[in-house]
């Protein structure tokens, strides 16, 4: 696993570490705080990777349960959220290995105008392009470009070095661009 740099000592991470220690002592407010801090990102990542609400909810709930169940024994130098997201990532991988009956799509919001319809079509193209990429490309793009984790944080979640993560991200962006260019040049 990559070593955290100064990002590990940020005020947000110090606050998080304090919440985790309070959680170990059974503090319900700390549980609320940690949950609120990450629930949208955990759910959003799972939803983007898995493509549907039901699987995303199950994986996100299981990730929080596992992370909070083991918070008492968590002693890594890495911030708690890195561990939480590594759990999410692994649960998503497990879920994707299971036989699937559901279609691989993100639920579409209803559209009410030509402009919205066009935007929805573009978003569908982008999601289709992302889903054509190798799994590790999808993961790093969602972590860094959608969820805005920085390279050291993404490196820890992905269990890669920081240079390897930056290189992966560079290749992933180029691959996404190539798929989009191919898709849109056909129209």
């Amino acid at each position: 696993m990559a070593v955290m740099d100064d990002a590990g000592c940020s005020p947000a991470n110090i606050y998080e570490a304090r919440m985790v220690r309070r959680l170990r002592n059974g503090d319900r407010e700390a549980l609320d705080g940690l949950f609120d801090l990450y629930v949208d990102r955990v759910y959003g990542y799972a939803r983007a990777i898995l493509g549907n609400r039901e699987d995303a909810e199950e994986v996100a709930a299981e990730a929080f349960l596992r992370a909070f169940q083991n918070a008492a024994s968590y002693r890594s130098d890495a911030p708690f959220h890195i561990w939480l997201f590594a759990i999410v990532r692994n649960l998503c991988r497990d879920r994707l290995r299971q036989p699937r009956l559901l279609t691989w799509t993100l639920d579409e919001a209803p559209v009410s105008s030509a402009e919205e319809e066009e935007r929805a079509a573009i978003h569908a193209d982008v999601r289709a392009a992302l889903n054509r990429l190798p799994r590790e490309y999808r993961e790093v793009l969602l972590l860094c470009d959608v969820q805005e984790w920085n390279a050291p944080e993404a490196a820890n979640i992905l269990e890669r070095s920081v240079p390897a993560t930056k290189s992966l991200l560079y290749r992933a962006r180029r691959a996404l661009r190539a798929h989009l260019a191919e898709c849109w040049s056909e129209e």
């Binding site: 059974g26 949208d40 959003g44 709930a61 959608v146 962006r173 661009r177």
Partner: protein
């Protein structure tokens, strides 16, 4: 600034992590070099549309309620038994979070 130096700088630029002085130098190069400009702006565009396509997904309220209820149950069942001497731990330092 040479084209061979641009790849990592373009990555930093589209992430918004270039210091101003370096950003200005990169922009000057992009104005003079169509090849690097295409590389930079097409990658920026791909990143932008990806962010728009996924946006900020919020967890549904029903999911929040169900999951929090499970977590509260877990907290009530396990944490006090696991850490009966928690009150003896040293206090946390006060940190100014700005």
């Amino acid at each position: 600034m040479r084209c061979t130096e641009m790849a990592p700088l373009i990555q930093l630029m589209i992430e918004g992590n270039l210091p101003q002085e370096l950003y200005d130098r990169v922009q000057k190069h992009l104005m003079r070099c169509p090849s690097c400009a295409h590389e930079a702006y097409s990658l920026q565009h791909a990143r932008d549309v990806l962010r728009q396509a996924y946006g900020k997904l919020e967890a549904p309220a029903s999911f929040r309620e169900r999951t929090l209820a499970k977590l509260y149950d877990h907290l009530a069942e396990q944490i006090p038994q696991q850490h009966p001497a928690a009150e003896n731990q040293p206090p946390l330092p006060n940190v100014d979070l700005g």
